[in-house]
Amino acid sequence: MSMLNVENVHTFYGNIHALKGINLHIEQGEIVTLIGGNGAGKTTTLRTISGLLKPSEGNITLNGEDLIKYPAHEVVYKGVSMVPEGRGVFARMSVTENLEMGAYSQSDTGKLARNMERVFHLFPRLKERRAQLAGTLSGGEQQMLATGRALMAEPKLLLMDEPSMGLAPVLVELIFDIIQQINNEGVTILLVEQNALMALSIAHRGYVLQTGEIVLGDKAEQLRNDPTVQKAYLGIE
């Protein structure tokens, strides 16, 4: 049984039919990437899994349990965390407070302290800036904060929406290293990326999304060598 199963999911954004029957599955311990152009429905897919959007049709199950019936704030308790697009840090709250919000679903304060140490260990920069307001951080630091904040909930499945967006190449590499490190610690990851080359270099498998439909799904290596993918998303003629 797959960890996450998305079957024939249709989602509407107002009148826009954004997802037209998505099928995908993620196995425990994998990094799976979802690549595609602007408006292909990548973010919509993540928002549907995390419960922010409700599909009009289809099934989403996590370890066999129906996820659709839970509102977004309860999906977290099932072990799914999301790093939203554009980071979405709470700009007027301090770094520490942002991390505390990430642990909102955790009632054990001892665990909270331990998880915060773990995040500070992954991102020493955040420890230096912990009293600072998140809005004053640089883009890279905000991405670290958003990632760390999602980890505070001890997710089994981490949804990441464009972690490389707007970052300098050095930082992109750092973030991708961290993603692999998080994955090695046992967190399953669904990674949405426009930077398909980077995403396919760390992912085990990938799906290609085009105008609300999955047109390809394969091992990352296979996708990297696929001529249509190369042409459309990797900039290789």
Partner: protein, 355 residues
């Protein structure tokens, strides 16, 4: 080219007018103040009295303003029924205090006789505010912004006339707390006990509220929801229940303010929430709407200006009954702040950039 020129002329005319307006206001205040002080009609003790009155009245505005500002911070909506929530608190406390007074409890136990009605008023106000939120606002959460505003005005009228229906249009007198009669000598100045009690209670309650918002889990969740509801939900925060708590906490402050107001003025009626509600809204805008310390500062500034303004600069201009114009001062301040600094005293620049 022509339209361009006429547009620029128009812009110029507008900015000249606005500057003229600023200069006029400053001139009125300066000339009035100077001639009042030269006339020397008031003693320094009287001035202190004005300021003390202003502080106690202003701290009530501040308490009510907190509810406006917190709800605005979270829903970007002006809860115009908030002044009437203040009224419901005063009514609740009135009935309990009258009963306590008849049993002789207030005389034998003045501190509890003050605290118990305050707590009860907070509960009543919070309960009614939660109902209003559920019935009048939540179904309109995703409607255009004008719609909940209209619904709020409807809720305001509903509360006013429901209370008139139940309790009549008459004026009720809040039972006297004898222990609060008279004056205390503070630094050699006689200050009415009731004003001290009102200002101190307000300060304590606001300190409690501020610590709740800054340091508790629910307070931090409120701030998170006010920044971004979707992201807050992704943290596991139940956005609806946080919104309800925000209404309840803001209303509890207004309910407590209703009791303190009854101690100061002793009169309770179905309309007592209307003017303080608008004044508190003014205070919230003055301090920067959405900003909690701003609401406190705005309330105090407004109370003090209202209290000393008429004698300080209106009387010097030879206006016959300057005290009648104290409301005009408040609303002039509202218009001025909206024209010249819409973000308020402590408000940040309202930017549209939202990540």
């Amino acid at each position: 080219m022509r339209t361009n020129l006429s547009e620029r002329l128009l812009d110029l005319a507008v900015s000249v007018f606005m500057w003229g307006f600023r200069v006029l206001i400053v001139a009125v205040i300066l000339i009035g103040t100077i001639s009042t002080i030269q006339a020397g009609k008031y003693t320094s003790e009287q001035w202190i009295d004005f300021v003390v009155q202003g502080i106690s009245q202003g701290s009530l505005y501040a308490m009510i303003a907190l509810g406006y500002t917190m709800v605005y911070g979270i829903l970007r909506m002006i809860n115009f029924a908030h002044g009437d929530i203040f009224m419901t608190g005063a009514f609740g406390a009135y009935f309990l205090a009258t009963w306590l007074n008849n049993t002789g409890f207030i005389d034998s136990n003045p501190l509890l006789g003050l605290l118990i009605p305050i707590l009860f008023a907070m509960l009543v106000a919070a309960g009614i505010a939660m109902l209003v939120e559920r019935i009048a606002y939540r179904p309109l959460r995703n409607a255009p912004r004008l719609v909940p505003l209209i619904s709020a005005i409807g809720a305001s009228f509903f509360l006013e006339y429901a209370f008139r229906g139940f309790f009549g249009p008459g004026v009720y007198a809040y039972p006297p707390i004898n222990a609060l009669d008279g004056e205390w000598q503070i630094f050699g100045i006689g200050i009415q006990k009731v004003q001290v009690v009102v200002a101190v209670s307000a300060a304590i309650m606001m300190a409690i509220l501020y610590s709740i918002v800054m340091f508790t889990k629910v307070g931090k969740a409120m701030r998170a929801v006010s920044e971004n509801k979707d992201t807050a939900a992704l943290m596991g925060i139940n956005v609806n229940s946080i919104i309800v708590s925000t209404f309840a906490i803001g209303a509890a402050m207004a309910g407590a303010a209703g009791v303190l107001n009854s101690l100061l003025f002793r009169q309770i009626n179905f309309m007592i929430g209307f003017v303080p509600g608008i004044k508190a809204f003014t205070a919230a805008v003055l301090g920067g709407i959405g900003n909690i310390p701003g609401a406190m500062v705005g309330g105090l500034v407004l109370g003090i200006f209202e209290s000393i303004g008429p004698s300080l600069f209106l009387e010097g201009l030879g206006i016959p009954r300057p005290y009648q114009l104290k409301d005009a001062i408040a609303y002039t301040m509202l218009v001025m702040i909206l024209l010249f600094r819409p973000s308020g005293i402590l408000g940040e620049r309202l930017s549209t950039k939202k990540a």
